[in-house]
Symmetry: C2
Subunit: 222 residues, 2 copies
């Protein structure tokens, strides 16, 4: 498959790009509003993967171009850019494309990180509202510590939670997620259940802050 | 220590009573609005523990009587009874008593279980508002599946998250929690961070529903 990572030059995009290129045979397209930045980052990722003996297939494009060519489009941008980013590329999406959103709305104060629930109910619901009707939206990859994801020396050994209203789209994302070594995908139900999934991200950030030796903490359900 | 479980005749109270009596040397007081019901349940728990070769110390009392005698008071009642239950026993609490709240506000619909955040910000904050100023409130034991907790044949192997504004009170609750075999307590910060902790409970219920073989699921952070 072709997998686009819009905003793939950021933290979570970098981690997903490296893991997907390292562990799977998918073609990875890094998207950015600035195609030059996307190409530079794609080259950085290729250099990192080359050094590990992997023959990588990572290319950089402007977001619309990356979306245009892809079966799965991960919208790896901050929550307040999710809607705009999807609207910008909406015309380029195939009818059977799957949009994936890992973004989480958060607010920080002196006590810690707090879930900031959008009016639509969740960032996943925001993405679904912005997406063309023919395109399925899936929430996944939320609560993965970016540094742990991007460091290929570390065994992931964490779960990611998948929400979506279209079972086929969820199955596609679950399959891709589980192709990443040490990542297990669990079904958390439809998009209506996304808020409870998204709010794990501020929680793990708080746990990392308040407990020694728990930097880059993840979670497993068992 | 003396540990009171107000509403200790319910699911989570039963699980905590059995685990605490089985794994620790604390004296366990089961509280109920109906003292006769509390005594009957306490006898049930003692029979269960007797059959496992433990000489149990579990007694039943009316809630106020249970609170009156205890160092730690767990308010194991539904979220909408937390405030009333604390106010009912407020006069009986020692100044250095620690109140513990495992309750979570939830609403269920056809899609799943959803976190229902109280106006005060969390059930822990509701409890703190209802408690006398001299009494410390700690949120803990939220996301433990009641059946898994109550079944002493099952190794727990889960984490519980502890929130509170008083470090000594948190330390007491952490110590008690970790005396339960297979339970690890992690610090999630002050009460301001309780909503993210409480919202794990509807999430694990959704995961149990949407994934085969994950009944009574718990979570660990690592």
């Amino acid at each position: 498959m072709r997998i686009a990572l819009l905003g793939g030059t950021g933290d979570i995009g970098q981690g997903l790009a490296l893991r997907l290129a390292y562990d799977t045979a998918h073609e990875i397209l890094i998207g950015s509003r600035d195609p030059e930045k996307a190409r530079t980052k794609a080259e950085e990722y290729e250099t990192e993967l080359d050094s590990r003996g992997v023959d990588p297939d990572v290319k950089g494009f402007e977001n619309g171009m990356a979306a245009d060519r892809s079966d799965v489009v991960v919208v790896a941008v901050p929550p307040y850019h999710v809607s705009d980013t999807i609207e910008d590329v909406a015309d380029r999406l195939d009818d059977d494309a799957v949009l994936v959103t890992p973004a989480v709305g958060m607010k920080s104060d002196e006590d810690g990180m707090h879930y900031h629930r959008p009016g639509a109910g969740s960032v996943t619901a925001v993405a679904a509202a912005a997406a063309p009707d023919s395109v399925s939206v899936v929430g996944a990859f939320h609560n993965l510590a970016a540094d742990r994801l991007a460091n290929l020396d570390i065994d992931l050994d964490v779960d990611t939670l998948v929400v979506g209203d279209d079972d086929d789209a969820k199955e596609t994302v679950t399959m891709i997620a589980e192709q990443i070594d040490g990542l297990r995908a669990l079904d958390a139900g439809p998009i209506a259940n996304a808020a409870e999934v998204e709010s794990v991200t501020p929680l793990v950030i708080n746990i990392a802050r308040y407990n020694e030796g728990m930097h880059d903490v993840g979670t497993t359900f068992h």
